[in-house]
């Protein structure tokens, strides 16, 4: 057990009742994560996607969460207040069953990083661009063990895992070996 220390938990409260499907959040996220920053736009690269069926009055902003190599065995649909939601509507996973939360070219998984950057933003960009307040940013402090950390590592692992799924372990290992020789 490591030493306790405080950590800021960043969260975004989604008020789907207020969302009106403008996709400004997707625009902002994709611009922010372009290299160089803001140099390109492509909502397909966004780490937030709005599930949107205006005629059924369905608007669900969903954030990209974990990568998963295989899709769920069973699926659920939800009916809420008479509205039927698609299978997987609320799921945050970058999953083989759908094209959501994957880089359109490479297929690599995308994950919301809360717009981590130096210098830090006052609030995540999708929140700033959602002018109808469907997305609200909140921070709270919690105590955590020191070693339970490093989002970056986690992200890298997910990336490698998806590469392995796509190309096979051997190929990925070969490339890593080659790279490490070069450097």
């Amino acid at each position: 057990m490591g030493v306790k220390k405080t950590k800021i938990i960043k969260s975004i409260k989604v008020d789907a009742d207020k969302c009106m499907g403008c996709r400004a959040c997707e625009v902002a996220c994709s611009a922010f994560h372009a290299t160089p920053k803001y140099s390109s736009n492509n909502p397909a690269r966004s780490r937030i996607r709005v599930i949107r069926h205006p005629l059924e009055d369905i608007y669900v902003p969903v954030y990209a969460g974990e990568y998963t190599p295989s899709e769920c065995m069973g699926r659920n649909t939800y009916k809420i207040e008479g509205k039927e939601y698609d299978e997987c509507a609320f799921c945050r996973a970058s999953c083989p069953s759908r094209d959501l939360f994957k880089e359109p070219d490479s297929g690599l998984p995308l994950k919301c990083d809360m717009c981590e950057s130096v210098p830090e933003l006052d609030e995540p960009l999708c929140v700033k661009w959602c002018m109808v307040d469907a997305l609200i940013y909140e921070e709270r402090e919690v105590e955590v063990d020191e070693d339970e950390e490093d989002v970056k590592m986690e992200e890298m692992e997910a990336g490698i895992e998806s590469l392995v799924d796509k190309y096979g372990l051997q190929k990925v290992a070969d490339i890593l070996a080659r790279k490490s020789q070069k450097s």
Partner: protein, 659 residues
Amino acid sequence: MRYAETGFNLEIDLSRGSIDRVETDPKDTELYLGGLGTNAKIMWDRVPPEVEPFSPDNLLIFGAGLLCGTPATGCNRTIVTTISPQTELMAFSMMGGFWAPELKYAGYDKVILRGKSPDLVYLWIHNDKVELRDASHLKGKGAVETAELITKELNEPNAEVAAIGLAGESRVFFASIEQGRSSASRGGVGAVMGDKGLKAIVVRGTKDINVARPEEYNELCNEVMEYIQFRNENPIPGVMPILAGIGSPQEMKVHDEKWHTENFMWGNSRVRKRDFWNEEIAKDWKETMESMQRRLISCYNCPMTCGATIQPPGKPTYMMKCFSKLTYTMAAFSDLEFGLGIAQSATEYGVDAFSAPQVMAFALELLENGILTDKDFPGMPEDSEGRFEWLLDTIVRREGIGDILADGTYWAAKKIGKGADEYAHNNIKKTEQLPLKLSMLNPIYFLMYATGEKMNITQIEGQFPQAPFATREEREEFVKDWFQVPDEKFKQIFLDWEFRGENSMPHYPTVQMCCDIVDWQEKMHYIDDALGMCAGLSSFPLKPPYHIHNYPKFISAGAGIDMDEEKLTQAAKRYRTLVRANNTRRGMRRKDEKPPENHWKKRFPELEEELLSTYYDFKGWNEDGIPTKESLHELGLDYVAEEFIKRGILKDDEDAPAQ
């Protein structure tokens, strides 16, 4: 690398079924920007005046604005250009929604269609994969229904669909193209799409749109967003609510319709109901709207929520925007419940909500006055609401009298004869106008109505207040933060503008001032239509977030084209003149440039002629409204002058018309 634009158009020949991806010339972007500007150039180059609206040689162009797909708030317009069956001139109807950015992400700036498909088809664009697909199972289906069916059959919930309904298939002259919460409605662009055998264009794109100078562009976008917030919190005092804010007129949010219902005309733009609005109606209509409205909604990347999803009892949900809320209600002398209900059918059929109700009211007026008889309306119900439903059905099916009415009031009156043209009284350039009849000539509006080529006043007006403010203090207050003006002189004109006395209409603003004011207002609309910007955030409202001072920066940082105010003004003038050149070549002249006779009770014929002549001169057009050789040369449009001379429209040695 190309910035903001993709640099590629899709060329589709529907007769042959061929699909080509064609790289465009970046030089054209510099000269004509994009959207309307480059559309007008293509029309000039490829559609000579001999081409009729329903000829396979007519083009139908869907042009995304230059900045669509970048993060500029509210930049989502598609400009649909073709030769209109209604006016036989160049139509450039524009639609918001979600379609234009999606096309850009798929890797194209425009879709250019020619020819005619022998069978009904739809076009499916998915990045590099583009195909024509059979649409025979969609024949007769509603525009909204079609979008639902196609996204399901393709299993592409994120694809955007622009579709026609039965009206387009039947080539109704005022048929629209419907898209999400928006539509390209004016000029019968839907009829041309139907004539080409094209039911829908479906787009899904997952590619990047690049901007030239990212940090700078982002900063400009942030400034606009902050200003939108500021304007939302600070409506303009002293004007009616509908003019105080930004965005499209907030018809879905505003319940108080006293102004529209008492100042706009009912029926066939005839009857003014001065004391119509009362507490009971206000309560009743508010209840109607609240019981049917499900949610306020926006277009792509915009916070303004100008539209709404509406669910009339017993009917499917549809999306509505702006003044279509009242056009059916008022034309039929009915109530809001009827208006919101019939608009559902009208949206599925795909008709223009300005023209369609007027055409139907016109038919009923002809019946009342014995020009048409009961025999022309077999089986039509007795009540007004029933009659409108019946008429709409017969028009979109072109059955019986509906076949004649489907050509709009101008052409229908010609066919019917017997003095019917007296009843087609609210047209400019053969197109039905807003149902407005006013007392005294407004010289600014006179010029806008007369010379507009988009046939819609809302697509020319804006920026400059519609009427003077009562007190000097109010005026001073207004000009204080009026930084959008292109020149300080506009502030002075407005400060000196009074309701009565020497500085009042029709002789103030002076003729010269009117030219300046109209030119500025029109210019901003033309810039919007090239960039793909919503007029609701730019050229239409007072004190908008986009204006002549920040637009050049947006173009420079976004598209990487070196731009300043002067260059932008010149570019806008260039393609504005090219729009006129297209229409001049098709025969449009001074005689066509007049508002309806009865638009104002009190007219000033001499002043009106002076206004028109001075404005023509100011624009570089001759006495007949034809761009002169000299002005064409200045704009780098010598090729237009050459053709004018070749066709005898201008003489070689002078700028006077040949005939």
